[in-house]
Amino acid sequence: MRSAIIGACGMLGLGGATAEATEVKTAILGYTEPDRVTAIEAIVDGQHAFDNGKIFNFRLVYDALTGASATGAAPSSLAQTFTRPSGEGSYRVAPGETPLDDTFRDTRMALSAGLTMPLNRVTNFSFGLYGSGEYDYVSLGANTALTRDFNQKNTTVALRGAFFSDSISPEGGRPVPFTAMPDEGIEKAQLSGDGSKTVMDLGVGLTQVLNRSTVVHLNYTYSDVNDYQTDPFKMLSVVDPVTGDPRGADAYLYENRPDARTKHVLFGRVAKHLGRDIVHLSYRYFTDNWGIDSHTFDLTYRWNFGGGKYLKPHLRYSDQGAADFHRSFLVDGEALPEHASADYRLGDMQALTYGLTHGRIVGDGHELTVRLEYYVQSGDSHPAEAIGVLQNYDLFPTVDALIFQVGYTFDLME
């Protein structure tokens, strides 16, 4: 009953929960792109606040993905045959269809844990470790942060750093960039060893309370990624300069991305209380030395009904400009560029998300949330550079996805 009472007291906004307390958030998320990927994700997020002000947190995520994913090859007026990444087996794609590799199947387990501790009344220090593993990918990381309050806690400045080391050992090996996809049963030209990359993030953040109802948060993150960043499963079609169909031999080349990437992210968010409701508006600007830049706007309105019940509509819009080396295809007879990828995620695109979350208090003061979101992403389906038959096909098919999440948050009492 105590947790129900604490939950009820929470309705009065009287603070508390400063003594020892453990809160556990669990969620199951389903993500489905019709005809493409389906993912199920289970999340357990725990936090324990110790009596001495330290906070321990951990997070466990398990994903299972299945389905088909775009290979980067262009559609064609001819039926196309692709060798599976393992080199064993092949699949056919009908004329006019976007080539999708339907063997996409993976499970991922990620675990992170961290500790935040007060150094004095206004300064907190935290550090954490991260590890994730899937069939062909391992990522290990560490992070740290220092936050300090100023101006009677109306201003908080944070410095953050993180380092990750990732390695990939894909099924069938890592193809030598720009070599051709071999026929079934023939080994592809491979890079030796595992692919690895390192990520270093440095960030600085500022949170400012403007008045009783408004809080502004600004954040800048610099990120430096080095070494193997090519997707070993992605390729580009080399098409005939007149017909637009794949050339006769060696028609599919494995992609090649630069091995150094520097990213800058600027993020700003305003939270405003309107009576009992809360509106969050955020803007994110992303730019990197691959030539990608994107603008993302996110708006949520939490409509509180009292008694812990709320509805939260969500709208998100983003507009991304393509990487310099993004190509829908390569043209036979033209010199190879230094780098190229047909991965749609590096292309020009706009994405819209519409969502609605409902939350309520159930049973012993636990919170139940249900979220439903629809995501739609589109780009230039008929780029000006399309040649021959490619002018007839959708070179950037719209991807839409449905996301459904059920979350349950509860407290553990001794």
């Binding site: 009953m1 105590r2 604490i6 939950g7 009820a8 007291c9 009065l12 009287l14 307390a21 009344r121």
Partner: protein, 292 residues
Amino acid sequence: MKVARQRDHWQGQFKAMASPCEILVDVEQEAEARLLCEAAEAEARRIEQKFSRYRDDNVVHALNHGAGQPVTVDDETADLLDFAHRCHEISGGRFDVTSGVLRRIWKFDGSDAIPSRKQAKALLPLVGWPQIKWDRPKVTVPPGMEIDLGGLGKEYAVDRVATLLADRAVAPVLVNFGGDLRAVGRRPGNGNWQVGVELPGVVDSAGLKLDLGVGALATSGDARRFLLRDGIRYPHILNPRTAWPVMKAPRSVTVLGDTCTEAGLLATLAMLQGADAESFLADQGVKNWVIR
């Protein structure tokens, strides 16, 4: 308002809510301490005036004199009514903000004035939260019934004042209204607050010496308030479902919790358990002191 320097903090004292009130703040300057203590007193008086049942110019009066018509209430009152509704639900009807009408027949003045069972029964139709029509922000109180938020008022005021001061001062604060208290903000370097708590009316009570970091303490029950007839003691705690005292209730229950409101509610619910108060508290996993 008296503000005095103690060994490693400032102490402000005033009277409100029929209790001695004490504010301890861990700031350097007297001027700052005084401002905080004045803000504390102003907030305590605001809550007292707004929710006191002894006034005719506040929201509680308006609710109880609505003649069966809906009354629209402000957000703070609405939050308290939502809270009262939730507490009624959690406690299986034991906690009921409409039970104040029982004071018409029960006056715990140490006398032997025990009402008859018939009198008690006659009042029962006027007690029961489910009869209140609560459709936020509109509340309709049927004629003859009463809502009394006084049972929550002092603990709520302690929490409000403590969070208000902690936000404003960015310094550790302890708020103590007649033994119901709350500490917010750890005291780096200075250790915990050392507080003494009187347990009202407990004979030979040396009080409670407490070493409190962050948290809250609340007491339910007052051993000075009872009725006595034919050697039977009728304690001050009433069961809203029978309109009769909870006969085996302890003299007082003190609970340590995260917020004063939480501690107060647990203490009251424990009292309502009568003979089972101790086992109820053991189930909640809270530190407590029960005096029989």
